[in-house]
Symmetry: C2
């Protein structure tokens, strides 16, 4: 009984990986690098994109916005004159709490792959399920806001392990929180030793240059990832 | 094809509701009121419980802690000398991003129902799926931290609709955020008009009396809910 259950889960993830590989092939053919951008709700993903996507030297950016419903984040980014495609998980996907490879595949025809070098996929705000589904990306980036507390890496270890970069955001609020930044960084090392991390504030701009540079290197294919 | 898919989802939720009703019958027999406590990761659920659970006049509290893995929150609350049971969704439940009625049912034998008046179930930190699964509760309470931004009711409307009380937490940080509290309250009204809400800060204690009083009324069976 237990063995049957495990096999079904494996099959579902296998199917996802098969579709992710097909996405990957399409992205490679078009010469597009892809970043899967994940965090809890309200950690600052959209603001961190607003700060940089219109200003990556030599890199043309597109954004795929994943939300359960609505298009507020896409509307914010469209004002920056980058191509943005909205993908809602409640339209035929049952209100899913994450993006999977098939959802991203359904959006590919709407994406101007020939006109961009880097596609950033902003996932649904959730620290659990998005980490389980590859979508054909080159790299996964997750945001951990210091306002969420030091314990999140230990409570949601899969998310912190399943990424190539951690952005530690909202550090401007540290003087007003009972949160120890070094303790948070220590906990990140407990679950994903030596994962690259950038400590920053989308509000004040501290650390944003490092984030911009990282995305530029990925988009310009100067950095090997995954 | 589409119709088949809808039926399968309905069946799964029907099965959940059947088990939730069985939980409800067990809780009623023991005279225990149950609160399903939900939020995004790091919104302050555990701290909001730490502030009040040992100090509800005439109400004996127990806590069921839901986490993907670990027992950090349960350990924090156990220091307050209230009975705490840990439920991990990665032990036989596949690392689920929410609690459902069957998971809660599996924990009932470990709960001291005869010795408590009020059971608080701290759900997995997630603004999507926990709202879809009844667990046999009397009332659902959700926490929205102002640090998450004003737009969360519009992006995660099901969660804001599926509750009888909204706690708007971390208001001590408002002077340091680009967040308008009135705009957040307005957006809550857009998706769930007139839902009761308490504006508070677990850190400074502002508003905590109102939260304590609400829980006390539920636990003392002075307030009709759901």
């Amino acid at each position: 009984m237990h063995r049957t259950k495990v096999r079904v889960v494996a099959d579902a993830l296998d199917a996802n990986n098969t579709i992710a590989a097909a996405n990957r092939a399409d992205f490679d053919r078009a010469g597009v690098r892809v970043v899967n951008f994940m965090s809890a709700p309200g950690a600052g993903k959209t603001t961190l994109l607003e700060r940089v996507v219109a200003d990556l030297p030599g890199v043309r950016v597109g954004v795929l916005e994943g939300d359960v419903q609505g298009s507020m984040d896409a509307d914010r980014l469209a004002g920056l004159h980058v191509p943005v495609v909205q993908l809602n998980t409640d339209g035929g996907f049952g209100g899913e709490c994450h993006l999977d490879a098939n959802m991203v595949r359904s959006a590919i025809p709407a994406l101007p792959l020939d006109d961009i070098d880097l596609l950033i996929v902003e996932n649904v705000g959730n620290l659990v399920c998005p980490a389980e589904f590859r979508i054909g990306e080159d790299a996964r980036v997750m945001v951990s806001a210091v306002t969420e507390g030091e314990d999140k890496p230990l409570k949601y270890p899969l998310m912190f392990r399943a990424c190539e970069l951690v952005l530690v955001n909202k550090i401007d609020l540290l003087p007003h929180l009972d949160v120890d930044l070094n303790h948070l960084l220590y906990n990140i090392d407990q679950v994903h030793p030596d994962v690259p991390r950038i400590v920053l504030s989308a509000r004040t701009g501290e650390g944003i240059d490092a984030w911009r540079n990282w995305l530029t290197r990925i988009g310009a294919r100067e950095e090997a990832v995954v």
